[in-house]
């Protein structure tokens, strides 16, 4: 408890009503606009004009002025008063009779018909079904019969509309639409005066306790229930709200949304209809009447009249928030949704949500705080500004006024507790992260991203790099010093890069790689920089740092050039000639670059091929010249040679003479020389080298198969590959059979060659040059291959011939049969001998026309 929802304000003091007369008591009240009517037990009606004012302290006070008083001329007290302002009539119950008086003069109407006799109690229908605005509908409890009556009161008369019997004597009633809510002797009931249908509500002993029947809204009533409950019931007899817990002796009840106010002998209690909780208790002795009139709560003792003035909603809410009672404050705010204009409500609601969020934030209840910030659409800068130094210096943000929270900053909030501060920072990270990913961040992307960057950097958070690598709005001027402070040089480089300052970025990274600055974010930073340069569109930057990279590591450094995308616009394309010239001083890098050009990119330029060939040769020669010969060098030599051989064999662009000049000096590079000879078309010399100097038959055969495909045949100029192959094998055979060399004829080699590569030879030619004395047995594999080959060729030819014939015949058949039956066959009259071909020709012509 302890919401202050109402304030008790005196309205009419005792002196104004009865002075010192002790026996006079207030019996009933009516408040209508600025008029207050008071009925007393000495049959007087007092008429006051109320003036509501706000005093210097901001409190509401009432100035009351007595307009007049009127004695009704009876000896009974005035029991009930109701004003009908549209008719300017005052309905008075006195001495079991209802009289209608003029509202201003208080004179009784002259017409005798304007009265109802035998009335115990009455009520006005505040939600009448009748459409006539100039009449008032009354529900009346008859004192003579067990019945209720419905009357309409017009300006000058009253009219009975309906009378309904009740099972027991009614003692209190309320009326809404067609529904009468009645307190009977032992129960409450709802009665529909239109249909006569009734609905029992619940038992209540009206003789033991005073029943209360109070209409609180459309077809909903508040009833005093056993056990001191305030029960809600609607016209269908259903309770839609949980009851409020009053004391046993409630005298009166009234509703001022969202509160139910009840009066008992010593107190006024205030319950909320929203959560049924007791919110306020006001001590009030000798309480007599509590009623609400058009939203005004009027309270009286037997001697004086007071007003219960509701405190402004916002103040009530702020009081609750000041007591950290977030839930109640929000319930109260949301309960007021329909009582204040929509736009004002939204502003209020948002603000309360934000304040609630900050209260929960202060209590480190981050989940709830986040939800309230989100619902309240908090300007995220309000939250960021709590954290020192997070907002960019350039931000024009100032906190909203009045402030949403009492905290100066995080230090004050956590009072130096590092753990708390850390959890607050973690919360902000997650909050900003969410804000960033979902909505448009209220348009404060710079503030959000910069704050996030700072938090990440400080916390050594892995997402720092993700933030910088993705689309972001981090302010460079503000973030750079912060990143430097936290030694996040790699990240700073990324930020420079994102802001188009690649030069600064690379410079920053170079200093880290060189160990001038310490940042262990990436262990492979050097490779990263090289990669970065290889994609860098600025050639100046590439040339500027190429030396640095190559000096550091040629193999990696050369990737600046080799990994560069082949495409790309003209400005960012490197000229290979320039690169080769530049790389002269970095020989290994040059070699790698040339390999990249020649082997990977297959650039068809003689210069590069020759250059690469020369480099290979030099390398091989250098290795050969080394006298010591450990295993790994052998290995290196064989690798170097195989590379050279591969180039020589695969490329046809290099300058053969130049390379030949380099190779000729070395006796061990026979294979390479043979290839170079081959390139020159000097196959005899090449084979001679291989067979007689290298003595490698296998190499010689490989040479033949390579040269058949790779070397441009010199003569005859248009020989096919097969003919070229045949020529080469014949040359090889001739070399083996050459008697004019040291060692003479190598018949074994010749036989092997024939038997193994029989298909490559022209068998007839071979038989001509073979020595006489060779046995058939010796050449059997060769001969059988040759015979098979020849037989195969013959048969293949026969099959082809047969197929061609059959195709021709088929075609002929189609032509003849596709001719229209009975059609005219045009014959060439000049030809006496009919021949199918002529028909075909004619038909073909006609076909051509048709198509």
């Amino acid at each position: 408890m302890s919401v202050k929802a109402f304030e008790l304000v005196p309205v009419v003091e005792r002196e104004l009503l009865m002075g010192e007369k002790a026996r006079i008591n207030i019996e009933c009240l009516e408040c209508c606009g600025k008029y207050l009517y008071v009925g007393t037990n000495d049959c007087f009606i007092h008429h006051f004009l109320l003036e509501e004012q706000t005093n210097a302290k901001g409190r509401v006070v009432y100035l009351s002025q007595k307009l007049q008083q009127k004695h009704l001329g009876l000896k009974k007290g005035v029991v009930e008063l109701k004003a009908a302002s549209a008719l300017e009539r005052l309905i008075v119950l006195c001495d079991a009779t209802i009289y209608v008086h003029d509202m201003l003069s208080l004179e009784a109407l002259p017409s005798g018909s304007a009265k109802i006799k035998g009335v115990l109690s009455f009520c006005v229908n505040e939600n009448p079904v009748s459409a006539d605005p100039f009449c008032v509908e009354l529900g009346v409890i008859s004192s003579r019969r067990r019945a209720v009556q419905i009357y309409t009161v017009h300006e000058d008369r009253v009219q009975l509309v309906k009378e309904l019997g009740t099972p027991q004597q009614p003692c209190a009633l309320s009326l809404d639409g067609y529904f009468l809510c009645l307190a009977l002797a032992s129960q409450y009931m709802i009665l529909n005066y239109s249909t006569g249908a009734s609905q029992d509500l619940f038992p209540f002993d009206s003789e033991e306790r005073k029943p209360i029947v109070k209409r609180i809204g459309r077809e909903e009533f508040l009833l005093a229930a056993p056990g001191g409950l305030g029960m809600f019931a609607n016209a269908e007899g259903i309770s839609q709200r949980a009851p409020v817990n009053w004391s046993e002796n409630v005298i009166g009840a009234a509703v001022c949304f969202p509160y139910v106010v009840a009066l008992d002998e010593g107190f006024v209690t205030v319950h909320s209809m929203l959560d049924q909780q007791l919110k306020q208790t006001l001590s009030f002795r000798d309480g007599h009447i509590l009623q609400d009139f058009e939203g005004k709560l009027v309270l009286s003792s037997t001697k004086a009249v007071y007003m219960l003035v509701p405190l402004p909603l916002e103040r009530q809410i702020q009081d609750l928030l000041a007591g950290n009672r977030v839930e109640e404050a929000l319930t109260l705010t949301e309960g007021a949704r329909r009582n204040i204009p929509k736009d004002r409500f939204q502003i209020l609601h948002k603000r309360i949500l934000q304040q609630a969020g900050f209260i929960q934030f202060g209590q480190l209840q981050f989940l709830e705080a986040k939800e309230h910030f989100r619902k309240g659409q908090l300007d995220v800068r309000e939250l960021i500004s709590l954290y020192p130094l997070l907002l960019p210096a350039s931000s024009s943000f100032t906190r909203c006024h009045p402030p949403l929270h009492p905290f100066a900053d995080l230090n004050q909030l956590t009072q130096g507790d590092q753990e708390k501060a850390q959890s607050c920072k973690r919360f902000l990270i997650s909050y900003l992260h969410e804000v960033r990913s979902c909505e448009g961040t209220n348009g404060f992307r710079e503030e959000v991203d910069t704050a996030l960057l700072k938090l990440y950097a400080e916390a050594d958070h892995e997402s720092l790099l993700d933030l910088l690598a993705s689309d972001n709005a981090c302010l460079l001027a503000d973030s750079a010093p912060w990143l430097e402070k936290h030694h996040k040089y790699f990240a700073l480089g990324l930020l420079y890069h994102y802001n188009g300052q690649d030069a600064s970025a690379v410079q920053m990274w170079v200093r880290v790689v060189d160990g001038v600055l310490q940042d262990s974010t990436r262990s492979d930073l050097f490779e990263y920089v090289v990669d970065f340069l290889s994609f860098c569109p600025s050639l100046d930057l590439v040339w500027k740092h190429a030396d640095w990279a190559l000096q550091r590591d040629q193999v990696v450094g050369v990737q600046i050039f080799t990994k560069r995308p082949v495409g790309g616009d003209q400005g960012s394309r490197l000229n290979p000639e320039d690169v080769v010239t530049y790389l002269q001083k970095h020989s290994h890098a040059l070699l790698l670059y040339l390999e990249h050009l020649v082997l990977d990119q297959q650039v068809q330029k003689e210069r590069f091929h020759t250059h690469l060939g020369v480099l290979y040769v030099e390398r091989v020669l250098a290795l050969l010249s080394q006298t010591s010969c450990p295993e790994e060098e052998k290995e290196a030599l064989s690798q170097a040679r195989s590379r050279l051989q591969r180039l020589l064999k695969e490329s046809s662009l290099y300058r053969v003479q130049l390379l030949m000049g380099k190779v000729e000096g070395s006796e061990s590079l026979l294979l390479e020389r043979a290839v170079l000879h081959g390139r020159l078309g000097e196959h005899e010399r090449a084979l001679h080298l291989l067979v007689h100097q290298l003595r490698d038959r296998r190499a010689a055969e490989d040479y033949c198969s390579w040269a058949a495909t790779a070397c441009v045949p010199q003569e005859p100029p248009n020989a096919t590959q097969q003919q070229q192959g045949t020529r080469l094998y014949h040359l090889l055979l001739a070399t083996y059979l050459d008697p004019d060399v040291p060692g003479g004829v190598d018949s074994t080699a010749a036989v092997d060659l024939l038997n193994r590569h029989g298909h490559a030879f022209d068998a007839a030619d071979v038989l001509g040059i073979l020595p006489e004395g060779w046995s058939l047995q010796l050449l059997r594999p060769f001969l059988s291959t040759a015979v098979r080959k020849s037989a195969h060729a013959q048969r293949t030819a026969q099959v082809a011939l047969g197929l061609a014939r059959s195709e021709n015949l088929q075609l002929l058949h189609d032509r003849v049969s596709s001719q229209p039956r009975g059609g005219v066959i045009v014959m060439n009259k000049n030809k006496v001998n009919f021949h199918p071909w002529h028909v075909c020709e004619r038909e073909t012509d006609r076909d051509g026309e048709r198509e």
């Binding site: 529909n192 249909t195 029960m231 007899g237 309770s239 309960g335």
Partner: protein, 251 residues
């Protein structure tokens, strides 16, 4: 009079009835707040709105005290399900359901679902009902079947001591069938007693979720029917319509 924003329009009403001190409020607490705490005797009634999928289910927790007995039929009016709660350690609470509370349900919907729930199961067998067992109902024949009417033992005593179970599952099922007979629903396609007789423990949480979820599942057709008809048994205060003269005041 505007409805508080917090009070969404309920689609269907579930009412918990039973003698005082059987644990009605604790059952609701256990289900809604997932914990067991000391409650004071409910005054009048309390009410909780459960968001269940797309539906709003209002659950009324009534006061068991004799004093508030008269309010019961008002709470039950238009109810789609009634949870009749007794205390398994107290035979009298089961008897009271039939004697005193059953008549309150006369105002409930004609297709109302009735569940018979024996609470405080943890007091009779701490082993079986310790915090959230996985299996469903546990048969406990032979513990209390012969111990019929002993009358008036006060439940909820010292929780450390095991109390004798006074009400068996059989008794509860028998009552369920008598409820159906009383309602004249025995020949209709009502769910069998096995599905609507529960033994629960609000203290350990045993079977509590099963109870509420089963009932919500069963009232679903009633919600759909109401939605399709578009004539809610409760009046929509937000809806402004001219009162019809044919509108009856009673059900």
């Amino acid at each position: 009079m505007p409805e508080p924003a917090k009070m969404r329009k309920p689609d269907v009403k579930v009412v918990i009835l039973g003698d005082m001190n059987v644990g009605k409020t604790s059952l609701l607490h256990r289900y809604t707040e997932r914990k067991f705490k000391d409650t004071i005797s409910t005054v009048g009634g309390a009410f909780f709105l459960k968001q269940w999928g797309p539906y709003n289910i209002s659950i009324w927790d009534t006061a068991g005290r004799e004093q508030f007995h008269g309010l019961g039929s008002m709470y039950c009016r238009g109810a789609s399900a009634v949870i009749l709660t007794y205390d398994v350690t107290n035979w009298q609470t089961l008897a009271e359901l039939e004697d005193r509370f059953l008549s309150l349900t006369d105002t409930a919907n004609s297709d109302c679902i009735y569940a018979i729930v024996g609470n405080k199961a943890d007091l009779t067998d701490s082993g079986t009902h310790r915090a959230e067992p996985l299996d469903g109902q546990t048969e406990q024949e032979g513990v209390g079947t012969e111990l019929q009417p002993t009358g008036g033992g006060v439940g909820g005593g010292d929780p450390a001591a095991l109390l004798q179970k006074q009400v068996s599952q059989e008794d509860a099922r028998a009552l369920y069938n008598r409820v159906l007979r009383y309602k004249g629903m025995e020949d209709k396609a009502c769910p069998p007693a096995e599905r609507l007789c529960f033994e629960t423990s609000a203290k350990t949480g045993y079977n509590v979720d099963e109870l509420f979820e089963t009932i919500f599942d069963m009232v679903l057709p009633s919600i759909l029917k109401k939605r399709s008809q578009g004539t809610p048994s409760t009046i929509d205060l937000e809806e402004c319509r001219v009162p019809k003269s044919t509108k009856a005041g009673c059900c």
